[in-house]
Amino acid sequence: MNTNCFYNEMVDGEQGVRPHYASYAEWLNGMPEEKLAQKRAEADELFHRHGITFAVYGEDAGVERLIPFDIVPRIIPAAEWQTLAAGLCQRVRALNLFIRDVYHEQDILRAGKIPSEQVLDNAQYRKVMQGVDVARDIYAHIAGVDIVRAGEGEYYVLEDNLRVPSGVSYMLENRKMMMRLFPRLFARYKVAPVDRYPDMLYNMLKSVAPTGVVDPTVVVMTPGALNSAYFEHAFLARQMGVELVEGQDMFVKDEQVYMRTTQGPQRVDVIYRRVDDDFLDPTAFRPDSVLGVAGLLDAYRAGRVTVTNAVGSGVADDKSVYPYVPEMIRFYLGEEPILHNVPTHLCRKADDLAYVLAHLPELVVKEVHGSGGYGMLVGPTATKEQVERFRKVLEAHPERYIAQPTLALSACPTFVEAGVAPRHIDLRPFVLSGEDVQLVAGGLTRVALREGSLVVNSSQGGGTKDTWVLEA
């Protein structure tokens, strides 16, 4: 696959502008570039003033930055979305069944569909969760599945983010921004609304409260104001009208979780945590964690509180388990997967490793446990030295890496220095699982702003776009 022959979301090389972009293209043509620049400046200023920012780790730690917002929307036709949505729900349903299974009967391992050691020796597999029943048997309550398009109707799942996926606040804020900047565009298009998300989330969270709890108290748990996604944590808490708590605000007494309030202790029933497993409970996981609550895991295992996403969900979104998701769908649901997986080489296997080492310049190599675009190699855009350096790392610890062919990510017109030009994009819709599996018609479109770049992560200079799913 070659990045030069990528799919352009707006323009078809032979037919011209695709039908669902026609009206937008017409509008864009009548729009002077200064006007666009001015609108973008206005957006930046508004985002800054609203404090819609993220903190950067590493260099410049503690500095808050804006995620660049692009004013050209990504438009998805109704029919395509229907397929996508069906595929996403199917996938998340299977993933939940898989997580439940590996912490109970382990049917899928005994059936030999996935090598046992791949799951049970995985760092994300939490033995403490074995035999623990969770409300409604749901583990991955909120999934942020990363999807890329490689061709006409050809969507691939890149990653199933099942731990603490972020970005949904940008989906919501980007829409608000677009409606504010370009109200007239919304007269041209019937765009499916996304603002129901906080309501759906809140209802889902209430629906997974421990059995017997009437009118449950839901909280959002954040690592604190210095976390890169803090804005989102606060945003969701406010949108749902629930408390935003830190570990220090809670304590456990007799296997019951409470938060400290001005009126004394108040019971907590559902914790939408945005803190990793490792930091949740210093007595159960990392003892040096100051973000967690001592005794939380015991209360959780006793079924006195619901933690979303469930402890141990990470075993299913691990990059080394990813290749087996289509198999899970067949095994648990008896269906054929609607969405494709990207062919993946597991470097821990000798054959795969040999192939990967021989084809490094063509492949994308990722850390099995990595995220955020850190510690990865994009073969086609890397220099020779970078490839050779990576080769050494890979040979030393093959088990830590997987490799995939470089996908020709589709590109969407984007307003950059040189005017409107195509840039590569992906898509992260957010799937909620409670009483049923559902999602709002939309998602976060991330865009690699540098020409030719395939890395869309905000930590690596990516931006975002509003995503328009058209109503049928």
Binding site: R49, H50, V220, R238, E243, L244, E246, D249, G264
Partner: protein, 314 residues
């Protein structure tokens, strides 16, 4: 409401109020420094100001001379002093940031926007646009924050804790502003009535937006006793101790919990003493020692509020 949330709201309000009052105090000193007075007098004024703010030693660590520019810069911009206007606005913003889920979007924007502007303010710009303009700006932003608070926040506990923070801080600050002027203007209890004095007292009144109020209330010449009465005991004067304590007490009653009765009693006691006190008695027994006792009690009350509702002070 989470105790930590209440704590952040309370401190957000306190720091915003402190920024405003520091601006007020510096502004009056600055205005006075433009009146004919000896360098010693000027130095005394600044020394007293630094002393009452508890910043004397910090200041001397950084500057050799007490001149007007140094003192203004120190209390407006210094990044190491916890009480500089800059750091008050920063702390207000950091507290707001920690609870932005509780604030309305408009309030957060106001406080965040204030800090962003403060951060970009250069010292040259400060001296250039005129220090008075800067103090005006600080006051204006504080007024704006208060207006947005009242105009957009749900009238629940969060507003009550903001109220407690605001009025406890204002009570403290008004007492300090009054005390520092009393010490300078009335050394060793002698009562003077010269023209300089008039300007000094009127500047003090202006610093707490009370000049016109004084005229309306007393319709007479400015005397130190009446100034003290106005700033300490007049319940209808929004920056007086009596008014501030009435607000603190009322808000404490609204948020009371199972173990806050003693705190509430202390606030009520202080409130009623201010309500029934006579300025003659206060002046006779010594205004300085009176305000010092007030400051102690306000401080104690703050500690008790932290213990009962907020995150206890370490």
């Amino acid at each position: 409401m989470l105790s930590r949330t209440a704590d952040h709201l309370y401190w957000m309000a306190r720091y915003m109020e402190r920024a405003e009052n520091t601006a007020r105090m510096l502004d009056v000193n600055h205005r006075m420094s433009m009146m004919p007075q000896s360098p010693t007098q000027q130095e005394q004024t600044w020394a007293a100001t630094l002393r009452i703010m508890g910043l004397e030693s910090e200041f001397h660590d950084r500057y050799r001379e007490i001149g007007s520019d140094n003192a203004l810069e120190f209390m407006s911009f210094d990044e190491s002093s916890p009480s500089s206007i800059r750091n008050c606005l920063k702390a207000a913003r950091e507290n707001a940031h920690a609870v932005r889920g509780t604030l309305t979007a408009e309030l957060w924007e106001t406080i965040n926007g204030t800090w962003l502007k403060m951060r970009d303010f250069s010292r040259d710009e400060f001296m250039d646009v005129g220090v008075s303009n800067f103090f005006e700006w600080v006051k204006y932003r504080s007024h704006l924050a208060r207006g947005v608070t009242l105009g957009t926040m749900l009238q629940d506990e969060s507003l009550h804790f903001i109220g407690i923070g605001t009025f406890l801080e204002r009570a403290d600050n008004t007492a300090r502003i009054l005390d520092v002027k009393y010490q300078i203007l009335l050394p060793a209890g002698e009562v003077e009535g010269g023209a300089t004095d008039y300007h000094q007292w009127s500047a003090l009144l202006r610093s707490v937006a009370a000049f016109e109020v004084y005229r309306r209330v007393y319709r007479d010449v400015i005397t130190p006793e009446r100034v003290a009465e106005l700033l300490l005991l007049r319940v209808d004067m929004p920056r007086s101790l009596a008014r501030c304590m009435r607000e603190v007490y009322a808000n404490l009653q609204r948020v009371r919990n199972a173990h806050s009765s003693e705190t509430e009693r202390m606030a009520g006691e202080l409130e009623s003493q201010l309500r029934f006190a006579r300025v003659d008695d206060i002046v006779k027994s010594g205004l300085h020692s009176y305000t010092m006792r007030l400051l102690d009690r306000i401080h104690l009350l703050g500690n008790r509020i932290a213990d009962d509702f907020l995150v206890p002070l370490a």
